[in-house]
Subunit: 792 residues, 2 copies
């Protein structure tokens, strides 16, 4: 049944023609029913084409499973409709609304954003309190045992206790993720990136995901893994936003009958971006950084009022967290903890930097870029290994427990063999100072870094006075923590990579700062403070791993609470990004690619002006007539080989060979609602027994439209007709066949389209461009490359 046309395009300037397994590339259409229309003819102006069946060319046959590499795009991901479906129903509703009702909607949007902020802040507070208390309990118990056994001998018992406690917590965390909601694994940032980009990731913004995420992150952080609780806040905020804005919970089967107007992808996306921003804001105390994060990741949809609302949600979120924490700490009104992580205040006398330090910063950026690339490459291999061999749930839980035990063991060993004793000062930041084999009144410096929550270790690296750590401690810590963090990311636990990255970077940054005066053998007062270099190292390492730029700068600036470091942080992040990008993409992008998500970047690849809509589009296209037989529609929707989601609606062609003129576009989800409500016209007596369908019916079904299999259509009903005029979008965006790929891409990306109809100069449907058709092209090492499409 496949349309076996292999296409060979020879890229000028590259020499070697690229072949692609085109059998999965084109939408295949089943020629059943005369009313469906197929465009068999393909233009051959710019293409050399040849017919190759899969049998003739076994090399290109569709792989039976996803070969876990990034040269494929999965077809299992659908797109979201970020372009409003302007059909007659919608226009009628909009026209009925008075200016006053638009104003009410606007007020509702503000209220929702406020709620998002409050809820996200509360969740952050909840996580923070639970983690702090549980971790405190854990460290207290272990410290007691260690202190007891240090002199008595038999420290291995405390090691076992530590490892078992960690594994137990992590087992809980991994269990709920693996068995209840696997999408809650990881930081959730790649998923939210994809959502804002317009890719529908199943179950990503459900209530269940949120619950699992929150508990998962608590257990994994308390379990002592090399993870942070900040990344998951972004995902949590997004789920909160998606839930609140819809005014109902499908999981809980509770519909509050409010905010019904917002039950569509466009509006929901806007709120989700506010939620993500609120999450960043609560995590780092960085409201502006949150706004920029949302815009950097999502925004083909910048709009002044929307951005302002996003900012509002962010502000409320950090304010809520701050207020709750201040009450919890019994210092009401002292708003000093705007985020989950707080870098502490850098003394104004130490924040100075000079022009001649800039080369050093750039150098640190380069180191961060290289280390980040190493991190990402190791994690890439590890993830491929995991996809291949660790896909059973029990194995996943066991791996997580193993990592927890190993983390405890390695930490213990590092502390045990460390000889870095530091005098215990009054008012030092040590919460759990381990004496171990140090003299009385001293503590083990290695334990400061390992025997603590990562957030506190970061702060200690930033602010401890010079001499707190000796270089060996820092070097060893960097190495082990680097490997642990790399192993940990991608486990089936819910946790983030921000804090481990910061911690690694802070450690080697501080090392760098300590070594500087030694290398240059000068006693320069500017170099005296290693905390500054720890900050730069943290920025470099984080930038090298995640490669965010503007938003990260602002987040770090806001987290330090001072704008003075803006320029050096930016320089460092930029260098890290440039250096890192030379080797491998950012961690999130690596994972998005490994999931074969059809992600659309900001612009079409630079060298893609060779391609036009004609080469890019899918063709032939399954079309419907304006008035279509129900049986045909059911057959098309049921065809499992194809899984089309959008169908151009055409004017009845005079002869069946000629393509029909485009007159609209209708979605699978709309057709399903129509079929469910049996909006049929009987063939004989026109317009009988027909219920007037309203926009509300579509909204009620959103977003979980039933599958076609669940809708029963009798044989009689199959003979009825369905009039699509009222429900289709009568003015879909179209482009001519000669449009260049960058132009198609710009239109698609700027408007957040899902389907773009390609027409000829008679306005006849020639093809359809979808997200997958555009995401397939990317700029590789050897010029433009094309990805293959594969069913999951």
């Amino acid at each position: 049944m496949a349309n076996n046309i292999a296409k060979k395009v020879s890229w000028s300037g590259e020499g070697t023609p690229l072949l692609n397994g085109a059998e999965e590339r084109r939408y295949s259409g089943q020629p059943s029913g005369g009313s469906m229309f197929h465009i068999g003819k393909m233009s051959t102006v710019d293409l050399e084409e040849e017919s190759v069946t899969p049998e003739e060319d076994p090399m290109r046959r569709r792989p039976s499973e996803i070969p876990h590499n990034e040269k494929l795009l999965s077809l299992k991901y659908e797109s979201l409709d970020y372009d409003n479906l302007e059909n007659q129903l919608f226009l009628e509703e909009e026209r009925r609304m008075s200016p006053m009702s638009f104003r009410c909607l606007e007020i509702c949007r503000w209220i929702i954003c406020g709620l998002i902020g409050v809820l996200t802040g509360s969740i952050a507070f909840f996580i923070d309190i639970l983690v702090e208390n549980l971790a405190g309990l854990k460290y207290d118990v272990i410290k007691e045992y260690i202190d007891k056994f240090t002199e008595a001998g038999g420290l291995s018992i405390s090691l076992i206790l530590w490892a078992v406690l960690n594994s137990a917590f992590v087992m809980l965390g991994a269990f709920i993720v693996a068995f209840i909601e696997p999408i809650a694994a990881g930081s959730g940032i790649p998923q939210i990136k994809c959502y804002l980009n317009g890719v529908k990731i199943p179950r990503v913004v459900r209530l269940k995901t949120l619950v699992v995420k929150v508990w998962g992150v608590i257990f994994s952080v308390v379990g002592g893994l090399a993870v942070g609780k900040e990344g998951p806040m972004i995902h949590s905020g997004a789920v909160v936003a998606a839930g609140v804005s819809q005014g109902r919970s499908t999981s809980l089967k509770k519909d509050f009958k409010i905010f019904e107007y917002f039950r569509r992808d466009t509006e929901k996306r806007d709120f989700v971006s506010a939620g993500a921003a609120a999450g960043v804001s609560a995590a780092f105390g960085a409201p502006v950084g949150g706004v920029l994060f949302s815009l950097e990741e999502g925004a083909s949809f910048w709009n002044q009022m929307l951005t302002w609302r996003i900012f509002f949600a962010s502000m409320i979120s950090t304010f809520t967290l701050n207020n709750f924490l201040s009450f919890y700490k019994q210092k009401p009104g002292e708003l000093s903890s705007p985020g989950l992580i707080n870098f502490g205040t850098f003394d104004s006398e130490h924040v100075q930097y000079s022009l001649y330090e800039f080369p050093l910063f750039i150098c640190m950026g380069a180191i961060g870029g290289i280390l980040g690339a190493v991190f990402n490459t190791l994690n890439y291999w590890l993830t491929i290994f995991r996809i291949r061999y660790v896909h059973r749930r029990c194995l996943q839980v066991m791996e997580a427990m193993l990592v927890a035990a190993v983390t405890a063991t390695v930490s213990f060993a590092m502390i045990y063999f460390s000889t870095d004793c530091q005098p215990l000062k009054k008012g030092s930041p040590e919460e759990y100072p381990l004496q171990l084999f140090c003299a009385d009144g001293e503590y083990n410096a290695m334990a400061t870094a390992f025997f603590n929550t990562p957030e506190k270790s970061v702060r200690s690296l930033f602010h401890s006075p010079p001499g707190t750590y000796n270089p060996q401690t820092l070097g060893l810590f960097t190495l082990t923590y680097f490997l642990l963090a790399c192993w940990t990311y991608g486990l089936t636990v819910s946790a983030g990579v921000f804090i481990p990255s910061l911690l690694i970077g802070a450690a080697w940054g501080r090392l760098f700062g300590i070594l500087l005066p030694i290398i240059f053998s000068t006693k320069n007062s500017v170099w005296a403070d290693p905390g500054k270099y720890a900050l730069m190292g943290a920025a470099a390492q984080l930038g090298g791993i995640v490669r965010m730029t503007l938003s990260l700068t602002v987040i770090l600036v806001e987290a330090t609470g001072s704008v003075t470091y803006g320029l050096p942080i930016m320089l460092v992040l930029m260098t890290a990004k440039i250096v890192g990008d030379y080797f491998i993409e950012g961690l999130y992008d690596v994972h998005i690619k490994l999931q074969s998500v059809p992600f659309l970047h900001w612009e079409a690849p630079a060298t893609s002006h060779w391609l036009t809509a004609r080469e890019v589009m899918s063709s032939p296209v399954t079309c419907f007539n304006r008035v279509e037989k129900v049986g045909t529609i059911v057959d098309v929707l049921s065809a499992t080989s194809t899984n089309h989601n959008g169908f151009p609606v055409i004017m009845q062609a005079s002869s069946s060979d000629e393509p029909g003129k485009l007159c609209g576009l209708i979605l699978r989800s709309q057709l399903i609602v129509l079929l469910k409500h049996k909006v049929f016209v009987e063939r004989v007596r026109s317009r009988l027994c027909r219920r007037r369908l309203q926009l509300k019916d579509f909204r009620d079904a959103y977003p979980r439209f039933p599958p076609i299999q669940s809708i029963h259509v009798s044989q009689d009903e199959r003979e009825c007709m369905m009039d699509l005029t009222e429900f289709m979008n009568p003015t879909p965006y179209t482009v001519p066949e000669e449009t260049s790929l960058p132009r198609v891409f710009k239109l698609f990306r700027a408007l957040g389209l899902r389907h773009l109809v390609v027409v000829d100069d008679q306005n006849r449907v020639m093809g359809l461009v979808t997200r997958k058709d555009l995401a397939r092209y990317h700029l590789g090492k050897h010029g433009l490359e094309e990805l293959d499409l594969a069913h999951p």
Copy 2:
């Protein structure tokens, strides 16, 4: 010869039909030459139409001059092409380029942004130094005279000296603006807003404008007007960017032959937005605020890499200024002055605020909104008065001088009659303490506010200890400065409104803070510091006047150097905006409207779903054939009654009555270059004596394309043909006639279009939508309103 079709649309839900002077509304076409095509038929599905000649309806006749109200859109403003002209030449060039050359371009963009930052920072430094020194000189001289005459009597001599000195400086400033470059008047922010929006404001980014702007702002600030030097920095940065990015100066007739790729509107706009951000950054030491300003004002063009470059330019700009200032102050390396204005550091013990203060902040926001609305309304009337009666240049200069003299006199009188004496403390922020009639060791508090540059007065209001000002002084100062600032904005001098707004707000905010404990008759420690309320008042007043939201919050947060005040500042700005918007638009928008600029807002008016492309479009459209007679083209371009800039290119219709199929779009500027280079095909011997035109020829002519009158075409040449195929954009964006206005608007705005072709289902040209057609609709008090179009 206008096309006298008056259109009457009755808006459902509104009752009263709106009439518009439609004779200037439609593009009129001259039916000369059979190859030109006119669509005479207009669809009448949704419209009632009637033919009314201007004679029949004198009320609607085109006004002979602009009646200075905001119900008109001027036709004198053209649009910029923010959509790339993808013709064959362009595509060929892009296809010839290797990935490496794209990378080089990217590096060039970064270099340019760095240069923009350095130059903008240097200009800021230059302005700052000159203003400081000249103003210091002036105040020293006057202080000396005042001190001398206070005891000797005859203070009127020092008043006269003050007034004359001020007037002299202001005369210089007003003279160069009025006689050399009137576009340099004001802050330049409305102009840059329009530019980024896509409106071509003549001469706005020229070198001459920059020079006049810089000197103008120096003279007006030194002249003691109630103005700031911050706003103009944004304009200056934009001019720098436009100049640097083009690699040549048309004014200086110097072409460096670099950056030729960037010689088109799209690229230039990107750099101008970076320049504007660099300007904000240098003015307020707010690099993130600068980025957000550019995005808030301009951005239909958000793009990650671009934003990152904008941020880079901003950072470099503030860093340059900071470095230069630190060298100038002989404290190299101490980077403490990131901007022209510096709010100083708020003590961390005073920055506290409590939840119960929020109603107070909201209240202050409301006051700011109301005062801002009063300011804008007064300034609106004043501006109309000025447009009507003060349009001669000498009058403008004289008005500016009058304002300067009055400012000096009023200040003098206020100081003279003030009895608010404060003890002169060691280390107080007073730079020019005036003793006047105070006792020895005391100084006049009113003089602190008036006898100083506004920047220093603002800082004094923020940070002076409680008790420095008494309530009467603050009240009187607010009132007089409010009126002075209102009178000053709109004068023919180059100056900004930011600082005066901040100053007014700080004054009444401080007053508010002082009155609070009195009203509530409590001794609350939180209320003890009036500086906090001064800051909130400043935010409220500025927000009430300019109504910027997100960027202003960030600018103020960055200028205070602490993120703690973020939430209250946002609350205050939001309230001010909501309250102010209820009465009148923001100051910049008022001025944009008074200039009748076709400005496109973020979204189509909420209630505009009634309208479709059919009602909105201009029709009939002047079209060209693919191969067109030179004479026809020259005639169309020369027609003074119409001033079309874009022409759809159509396929030769079979019969001349039927509309032709669209096959491209060509611009006036392209045709002019073609005519200039005589790219003709002789009718008999085809393709003879034809020079191959390159993209370079178009770039060399950009942006000052010669007028058609300057191109001589002989009678023989008129008989030649011109083949437009290679030069037209073969894939213009199109919409069907039924597309709703919001959808058209979204497409137009998101892609930065200049012309959008409306086609029927046969792909035949039915009309053309331009910026003016969309900007005409706005939401008034009584629902949707339509503006008239008028020639200047």
